[in-house]
Symmetry: C2
């Protein structure tokens, strides 16, 4: 049983919107295929993966460092003890050999894309959906029968803020979402308050709306927004300040009652440990949001969830960022609080199976083996073409 080839390609996912910090008009991601000599249904099994939006493609790091390190190992070194399947942990360790500690950035994204393909591969070899593999290995066989998916969106519409935002929220609700997220911090506080009221007019009061500042605010402004947001019954206040400014998080948690959410821009167990040690977050209400495809993959994300548990955080407080199938499988198989989705943007890579049904904000476990990328016609077509898969 061996890996015969690892391919990668760049997929552009330009999107016209911007958040309060960056524009997505030149956004790209890396896509990955791991080819093996394992045969299922007469065909070699191929693991597929990609990295989330926001951090660009990582061909250089994958081609120059990670892929050669995996391919030069003896095949047996990359398998589980009983040799029955590939070992995500051993492949991960091979990728990270001769890498120094600290500096968790683009490297984590590159590892994450390959690691996603490894887990897809492992689940396909077991002929199970990934959530079931995760449930068996890391959740004593338990899983969620339905899981929250919330919509990331609520963009700015410079030409027509009111009708643009209301229209988007109405379309999102029509797709079955209950909890919707919207951007803040790209306008002044009074404009954002007005936008929040417009959005609440569609989604309704009572934990149906979350807001996201994308790490833009200094502490003063973050506190001012926090006080404004407390007047509404919002689900959370996401990335109020720089993701690495732990002390600012702690001050904010002391001065406002609104739940805080953060984590998509922390890329390692070390960074999450610092957030939970120094960030003053409240395990009874705040949210941690790692993106498994950005933070060295599911393999590292499992360490982060385990660490959070030792520090008093139930798995239900974790809601992965990224709006991809990996987050969905993790939420179901590990029993997390839900996962993100991006209706209509970052296509064809955002979202879940083509036939996914979302009812009152919840969806049910998919049945296809692995991540189920093959159940998404446009995405699998795009991957086959760009990766030159047969």
């Amino acid at each position: 049983m061996k890996i015969t080839r690892i391919r990668d390609a760049v997929a552009p996912i330009p999107s016209p919107m911007r958040n309060s910090v960056i524009s997505f008009d030149k956004m790209t991601i890396s896509i990955v295929a791991i080819e093996t000599d394992v045969v299922r249904d007469g065909k070699p099994v191929v693991g597929l993966g990609f990295c989330s939006n926001g951090r660009y493609a990582q061909s250089g790091i994958m081609r120059e460092r990670l892929i050669p390190r995996v391919m030069e190992r003896d095949a047996a070194e990359l398998l589980d003890d009983d040799g029955g399947n590939f070992s995500p942990q051993r492949i991960w360790a091979a990728m990270m050999s001769n890498e120094k500690p600290g500096g968790h950035g683009d490297r984590a994204v590159a590892v994450g894309a390959i690691d996603m393909a490894v887990w897809d591969l492992v689940a396909k070899i077991e002929n199970k959906p990934l959530w079931k593999v995760l449930s068996e290995r890391f959740n004593s066989g338990a899983h969620l029968d339905e899981v929250l998916v919330y919509s990331g969106g609520g963009y700015y519409y410079p030409e027509n803020e009111k009708t643009g935002l209301i229209g988007e929220m109405e379309r999102t609700r029509a797709l079955g979402y209950r909890l919707c997220k919207m951007k803040i911090g790209g306008a002044d506080i009074d404009t954002d308050r007005q936008r929040i009221e417009w959005a609440l007019g569609v989604v309704g009061a009572g934990q149906n709306l979350a807001v996201d500042a994308n790490g833009r605010f200094g502490l003063d402004e973050a506190i001012a927004y926090g006080r404004m947001l407390e007047e509404y019954d919002l689900c959370w206040y996401e990335e109020p300040v720089d993701p690495l400014d732990y002390m600012a998080h702690a001050v904010l948690a002391e001065t406002t009652s609104i739940p805080i959410a953060t984590g998509e821009n922390l890329f390692s167990t070390q960074d999450f440990r610092n957030l939970l040690r120094h960030g003053g977050l409240r395990a009874d209400r705040d949210w941690i949001q790692p993106d498994p495809s950005l933070c060295y993959g599911l393999t590292e994300c499992l360490r982060i969830i385990e660490l959070a548990k030792t520090m008093g955080w139930e798995r239900l407080r974790t809601v992965p960022h990224g709006g991809h199938q990996l987050g969905l499988h993790m939420a179901i198989g590990l029993g997390l609080g839900g996962t993100e989705s991006y209706p209509g943007v970052f296509q064809p890579y955002g979202g879940f199976a083509d036939d996914v049904e979302i009812v009152d904000g919840m969806t049910t476990p998919p049945e296809a083996p692995g991540l189920g990328i093959e159940t998404r016609a446009k995405m699998i077509g795009d991957m086959r073409e760009r990766l030159e898969l047969g």
Copy 2:
């Protein structure tokens, strides 16, 4: 006045040694040339830069993200207010546009290599050594007339630890170095104690030896080593634990009296702020060691030094990592505590001018414009060839 082209290339710097964490046998760096239409002595001025050892070449990030962002700006946007020279801060901001907060890793290395070339360019246009530009802009015209350079080294010699280490230390002393650094953590504590005593037999007691664990230890082992090291009068104990484990630094600073040094694997102002806020370091004895070519360049490193000042750290407590000419110019022009050097390794990129004189561990300000890479025959030859410069 405009940038006409930015070239990059990969330079292999394989070295046979390993520290306690990684091997350097496949180490590479990126080298950079910024070509302009500015003419000095009848030739266009070219800025040269590179990234330090330890983090590999970064062609992908430079070519796909950073270089296009600089080249698509209007030329005037990249100049100082008076249009008389390029603005490192504006070029830096262009490189970092549409980059999200957090995730400070390989991106910081890629920015650092280009930023080094920008500062070389700016100083060449002023026809001054870089230290003089830094002195005028950031040190009220003051500079050091002589500066400490210490040797990074003290490797393991698996076949003959005693004669290997002693021989290396004798060669280093013969080159003029006074303060020498050696690796620890790659053997058991008793072996390392013996190695320290062998090294002290050459360099002599009294702040002439520093030790470097490269972030390998857990807290227990770090404390045990700290207690052992206290018995000798060492200059510092470098990277005892994971560079991002601030709490472990704080515990270590409480439990041992030996000076702690760290910073080469922190790549942003945010990370250094966390170290100084949460790491419990002692401003009267500990050392901070940013590598300007790894942490988003001199432009960001100036912010780190300024931040450290507001938190009670004198500039003399900063000793840049990396063993390159940029660290030397910074130490002289900004008045830092010294800089690192790697006699004999990472060639031709490690080290200073070919005619540098080191006497009792000190050297004097170089006179060539810019970084003075042109005063190093092998290095400039290698760069000209790999970058296909005329």
